[in-house]
Amino acid sequence: MIMKTEFWPVFWKEMIKFFRFKSLFFTTLVQPALWMAFFGTAMSSNFDRLNVLYSIPSGVGQVGYLTFMGAGVIAMTALFTSLYGGMTLIYDKNFGLMKEMIASPMQRSQIILGLGLSGITKGFIQAIIIMVFGTLFLGVDFFSQQNLPGIVCSVLGILLFVGTFSLGFIFLSSGIALRLETHEGMQGIMTVLSMPLFFVSNALYPADAFPAVLKALSVINPLTYLVNGIRYFAIGNDFYALGKHYIYTTEIVSWSYAALLIFTLCTFVFAMDSINNVSVT
């Protein structure tokens, strides 16, 4: 019970600031909207033209590019938001704000847990907005042939994946932030991390045709597993996209979730070690 309430203030403070800076909140939503509106619509007119080249067996759904990448955009947004979520710790550390918490009876680990919960919440809000915005205005074809209870279950499934993934990356970025001195260093590392993570995944295109090295990298990339989960719940377990036949068996989806869990556990250990060793005096 005490464990539960102790990190609440950290979460409370993060959310106050998240909603206080409307422009910040807005920017994090504009990015996915722009990706879908421009990259998505532009590419779908190209890719969808090629679909006639592939013969698709009857009875299996053919999915447009926008719908295919919509899942990737949700994943991308979760990645960027949570990767930058730890940045706040650099300020807290450099400007001494962390002293207030470190000197209180609250355990240090609660700082990380509170930040993690705020990361999950931000990820949820953004994922839901993208799903609503994409399906209503951009023609993303999610949850087709699902009835209302089915859609609710699918959305919950997507949030489970997004939440676990966001937690993993906020732990990772918190752990890194606590070990760095400068904000510029953090910015550099985030840039170096985020681009490869994003492009060496199946977010925008199938990863199967990658050269061997990239393919290996995509296998250890948590983003790949998040995208698997989102596509399974949003599109279905058997569909064609970009000429590729996608089959998501229960085993594949379970393994994808397990991979995310393992990733999150590792980054949790890393973040805890960082906070327990940080010096604030």
Binding site: E6, T88, Y91, E100, M101, I102, A103, P105
Partner: protein
């Protein structure tokens, strides 16, 4: 017999080769204002960091509010409030949110938080600023907010690390007033400062600290009286010659020369000593340029015990804080 609320025995702290705190022992009595007076780098903040459990004790022992800082840090933390030397405020939170957050991390129940916040805003005169973000407060308001925050948890002891550093004289007076009020309501205060007037005005007892060592611990009055009754400052045409002349001929004076004149400390009434000094100087043909007789101040006390003056020079610890804008 008054009870000690802080007991420190043979406390030491090293940063590599640097002995920042060097075998200090002292007691702070319940209900008093106790000050550490010393120049920058003396070891004041390090001592506070040790007593507030922000740093691990390397050597020695400290009992704060009945709990050992090394073995029972959580209980110590529950009993104390801290105002750090550097400003520690989240600039994006409002005054009320700042206090609210602090109450929350100490698990003060919601209703009680509201009540205490209203009280404290009243005490530090920030009621009209409750919904203003801290970045829009003046330096003095920020310091008052930090003091109020230190009191959010109704601590037995409030630690104040250089509470008026860098503030203008009027704001300092106001903060002194708040500190006295807080002390009057029963909170023991441990204060560090490098301002003589601050230590003199506020403290029940002062410990002069230099190079990590406590040199003397006394009440301000006793410290001043320990020097003698009067201080005579003179300036002559030849201070060097005058100093040696006086040293050879006046045995009941303590004499020291600095750039701005000669300081003579006497056990007798200053005005009764002056004629003989004038005669001596006259006889040697040294012109007397000016004379000033006064009671000893803490400045002279400090020079007497440490052999130097405190200068209000900025060090690496007291730089203005950079203010980058925040983004995520």
């Amino acid at each position: 017999m008054e009870r000690a609320i802080i007991t420190v025995r043979n406390l030491e702290h090293r940063f590599g080769d640097l002995q920042a705190v060097d075998d200090i022992s002292f007691e702070v009595l319940q209900g008093e204002i106790f000050s550490f007076l010393g120049p920058n780098g003396a070891g004041k903040s390090t001592t506070i960091n040790l007593l507030t459990t922000l740093m691990k004790v390397q050597k020695g022992e400290a009992i704060v509010a009945g709990h050992n800082v090394a073995t029972d840090s959580r209980s110590v933390r529950r009993s104390i409030g801290i105002v750090f030397q550097n400003e520690v405020l989240d600039r994006d939170l409002t005054v009320r949110e700042t206090l609210e957050f602090h109450g929350m991390i100490y698990q003060v129940p919601r209703e009680k938080r509201r009540e205490i916040i209203e009280d404290l805003l009243e005490i530090v005169d920030l009621g009209s600023k409750r919904n203003v973000r801290t970045k829009y407060l003046s330096g003095g308001m920020k310091r008052r907010l930090e003091i109020a925050r230190g009191l959010m948890t109704r601590p037995k002891i409030l630690f104040l690390d250089e509470p008026t550093i860098g503030l203008d004289p009027q704001t300092r007076l106001k903060i002194w007033e708040h500190i006295r009020e807080i002390n009057d309501s029963g909170t023991t205060i441990f204060l560090t400062t490098h301002y003589m007037d601050e230590a003199d005005n506020l403290s029940d007892r002062i410990a002069i600290i230099d190079n990590g060592k406590i040199i003397v611990t006394e009440t301000p009055d006793n410290l001043k009286q320990s020097l003698g009754r009067d201080v005579i400052r003179i300036n002559t045409g030849d201070n060097r010659a005058a100093t040696s002349l006086l040293k050879n001929n006046s045995h009941d004076l303590s004499i020291s020369r600095s750039d701005d004149g000669i300081t003579l400390i006497t056990e007798k009434d200053g005005s009764s000593v002056l004629p003989s000094i004038l005669n001596l100087l006259n006889g040697a043909g040294i012109d007397l340029l000016n004379v000033d007789v006064k009671k000893p101040t803490l400045d002279e006390v400090f020079v007497h015990y440490t052999g130097r003056e405190i200068r209000d020079e900025p060090t690496d610890k007291v730089q203005p804080r950079p203010r980058p804008h925040r983004r995520r």
